[in-house]
Amino acid sequence: SASSTVSSHTSQLHLAKTMSSLAVNGVTCRGKVLTLDSMNPNVRRVEYAVRGPIVQRAVQIEKELREGVKKPFTEVIKANIGDAHAMGQKPITFFRQVLALCSYPDLLEDNKFPEDAKKRARRILDACGGHSIGAYSASQGIECIRQDVARYIEKRDGGIPSNPDNIYLSTGASDAIVTMLKLLVCGEGRDRTGVMISIPQYPLYSAALADLGAVQINYYLDEDKCWGLDVTELRRALNAAKQHCKPRVLCIINPGNPTGQVQSRECIEDVIRFAKEENLFLMADEVYQDNVYAKGCKFHSFKKVLFEMGPEYSSSLEMASFHSTSKCYMGECGFRGGYMEVLNMDPEVKAQLTKLVSVRLCPPVSGQAMLDLVVNPPLPDEPSYTLFLSSQERTAVLAALAEKSHLTEEMFNTVPGITCNPVQGAMYTFPRITLPQKAIAKAQEEGQAPDMLYCMKLLEEEGICLVPGSGFGQKEGTFHFRMTILPPTEKLKVVLQKIRDFHLRFTQEFS
């Protein structure tokens, strides 16, 4: 594996092995049915940096602060994951009203609720068993909501038809992504399914692939070209992989996470051509499609580009696109709303997919309702429109993100030892850090990834929580961290300052 997850994995394994043979509270753990040796070996390979050890430590430190322990800082700044409220944004009134009406339909009699909210609530409740969001829905999701999603996709893609039967609502996009991988991964030994994923990537993919025992095929985004994707690199990765597995799937995240790049139309066409040539199933993770703010960048959906390339591609390439309510810049994440749209899927395979999703019964109905509102917002002639528009403050939010991404890029690039690419979309920055040899050596001694050592120290000294690049994958010998650019500008400036000061200190300390 080319990523630095190897060393952190080794350390986790080492720690776990040590623990298992130690007496715990005087009772040995030998003799258990479920041990490290008997458990599913794939699960041992699963890691998920976004909620990994550094986050654990951050939570612990927060607890200590609450208990009055003295630290060089008074709060932990959670710059490791997106947090809409760190922006000072309030939840969207319209969404909340409709969901409250759905939860407690007696409120439909309350004249404090606007008519358009009531109308949507009634429609959703009519589609629910027993008129309750507490009833199971069909496994594929409530039909009228799938229809609304299809219409939304059609509108987004300039009229290209979308069939509601090809839409599967899910518990966030993650659920759908894992379901597709579960369906696709098969074969033994050299025929084991290989899945191509970008390095760096969002670690849900590596976790799912490890869990399924699939072969992860890494293709590298080019840091020197603003994390651009080059088809020659895809080809290189694929050809190398063919020696030991059967590559069948290509995953692409656009806009990217953690890197934030927005693929150009040409690049998307190249990827589509490549997938067709090599007979790969394309998985297009487009959850950040609403978060594009860099000048000159535009989101192009894979589906739209596919259709515009003509029937030779659009009627044969097999693809699934994913979206979610969590990542809209206003992120109503707690409801777990998401969907995938499948294209050109063999009907027999679709039947298998339908069977597979039935096992998890149904996605949360509240998430389905939330999704319905995201695709069905108030229209200009409806009473809630003005408030909705203003509470969304969409233009302002995107403009602020653009400004903060510039600020971040500029600031980091002034620090010797940190280089930062422009961020075009999503909500993170993924700068590269140069670490002194001494620090790398120390980290290796401790069985830790060097950027984990760096981030842990930053957390302990400054109370800033970031996620080390090793959690996402990176070119061997390079180090990064992922930071969100969501905090309010003034706070962000402070954070950037502190990181700069820390970096200089760190470099000094390990010189």
Partner: protein
């Protein structure tokens, strides 16, 4: 050539349910009814799911008021909502630092909830307190509790850790027959093998330990059994296990080195004489060494019981006596998963901490739950009476759970007809029941049953009048069916 010519063999091996045929027919029939096609009935009574709300049971007012107030805090201005609703919502919203942030943003929510478990720490804490109270004081550690998107989700995750698809022998899980279909499907989907142990119908669907022995013997050399899955109260069969039986199961699991999976989602639905006691409690009361060594995962959910909030997807698993090294990996698995939806977590909080006597909402809460309870008790009594009075139909006592699972003694002619149609006999019966009487029930073949026996399953968590209508249609149909095929 399609990339998808080959898909996961585990997925392909998952049984396709007979129910899916019935579901398709139902869709067609509902469409026909909408178009005004004349049928012997005006609407389809769908009792194929254990879904109280779908059946017409009303959600609990307190629960829904708190949910609404959490979602839209403006509702708490003024006096419209009872004081305890407002207090509870406020508590949930204030909770730990920035709870409202936690509610509305998955990401910081997950950070805040990552204090060793999945789920909001305050809610996990209260769930653990509930468990301890329920079990007469047996301690419950929040670090061993994971909230998730429904109990099935948690079960699949634990199975994922247990089932080793790469081992030379497939992993086996002892599973009751009959057993509701989702669990065996999960096992198969993971590449595991279902080892059925038959519940004894003549003895009220009792679990007999001799049968466990037989089942284990039967799979020698074919697979490596690692876990024993029990459902108590049962689904589809409505038995509630006796303490003695549970002790036997625990001893068996210990002796045969099996991980115990206790699906207890129907613990709130008990109507007979046998009281529900949790596996954890029984285990604890058996004392060491068993209480310190038998590995157990217990599952519960807000989907069943009086709340019946299936669509909110709130469930949890509690782990007992797990190897700490393995638990670390289970943490990671749960963390990599979707964090449980907010409303589901709130539902769990309300389920484990309902209004208490003296609270303003208590009276209404008590009335509503009592109403549901007495309705179900009436339903169970009536269903069993009606069915047992019909020829060729018999039903064991329903002590708990959400379903009746009567046996149909099908005449040879009917079995023959079914074979000709290429269907399981009880599927044939259910299809006819659907077409002629507009009742959607599920066939026993989907659950596993002794060879040569046939059953149907239908939900009894319904308003009493709906059940009445259902039983009327069912008995008319059954009588006619038996006549036609005599």
């Amino acid at each position: 050539m399609s990339v998808l010519q080959e898909i996961s063999s585990n997925v392909k091996n998952m049984k396709t349910l007979e129910y899916s045929l019935l579901a398709r027919w139902t869709k067609q029939i509902k469409e026909d009814l909408r178009q005004g096609v004349k049928k012997p009935f005006r609407e389809v009574i769908d009792v194929s799911w254990g879904d109280p709300h779908r059946g017409g049971v009303k959600p609990l007012t307190f629960v829904r008021q708190v949910l609404a107030a959490c979602l839209y805090p403006q509702l708490m201005n003024g006096e419209k909502l009872p004081v305890d609703v407002r207090q509870r919502a406020q508590k949930l919203l204030d909770g730990c630092a920035g709870w409202s942030r936690l509610v509305f943003s998955k990401c910081s929510f997950s950070l805040g909830s990552y204090s060793a478990t999945g789920g909001l720490p305050e809610i996990v804490q209260r769930v653990s307190e509930f468990i301890s109270r329920r079990d007469g004081g047996v301690p419950s550690n929040p670090e061993n509790i994971f909230l998730c998107c429904g109990s099935q989700w948690a079960l699949t995750r634990i199975l994922n850790v247990l089932v080793n698809a790469e081992a030379p022998f497939p992993t086996g899980v002892l599973t009751p027959a009959p057993c509701y279909s989702t669990t065996p499907l999960s096992i198969e989907g993971l590449g595991g093998v279902v080892i059925p142990y038959y519940l004894s119908e003549e003895r009220g669907w009792e679990l007999q330990v001799e049968e466990l022995h037989r089942a284990l013997e039967s799979c020698k050399g074919a697979c490596h059994p690692i876990a024993l899955y029990v459902i108590n109260p049962g689904n589809p069969a409505g038995q509630v296990q006796s303490r003695k039986s549970m002790q036997e199961v625990i001893r068996f699991a210990s002796e045969k080195r099996l991980f115990l999976l206790a699906d207890e989602v129907y613990q709130g639905c008990v109507y007979g004489e046998t009281e529900f006691v949790s596996y954890k409690r029984v285990l604890s009361e058996m004392g060491p060494p068993l209480s310190d060594t038998v590995e157990l995962a217990s599952f519960h959910s807000a989907s069943k019981g009086f709340m019946g909030e299936c669509g909110l997807r709130g469930g949890y698993v509690e782990l007992v006596n797990l190897d700490p090294a393995v638990k670390k990996y289970i943490y990671t698995l749960f963390c990599a998963d979707s964090s449980p939806p907010v409303l589901g977590q709130i539902a769990l909080d309300l389920m484990t901490n309902p209004p208490q006597p003296g609270d303003p909402s208590y009276l209404l809460y008590y009335q509503e739950t009592q109403h549901i309870r007495s309705t179900v008790v009436k339903n169970v009594k009536k269903a069993c009476e009606v069915i047992n009075s019909l020829q060729g139909f018999s039903c064991q006592a329903v002590e708990g759970g959400a379903f009746a699972f009567p046996r149909i003694h099908l005449p040879a002619k009917a079995i023959q007809k079914a074979k000709e149609a290429g269907m399981q006999p009880d599927t044939f019966y259910c299809l006819r029941l659907l077409e002629e009487a507009g009742v959607l029930a599920s066939p026993g073949s989907d659950y596993g049953q002794e060879e040569g026996t046939f059953h149907i399953r239908f939900c009894i968590l319904l308003p009493h009048d709906v059940l009445g209508e259902l039983l009327q249609r069912l008995s008319d149909f059954h009588t006619q069916f038996m006549k036609d095929f005599s």
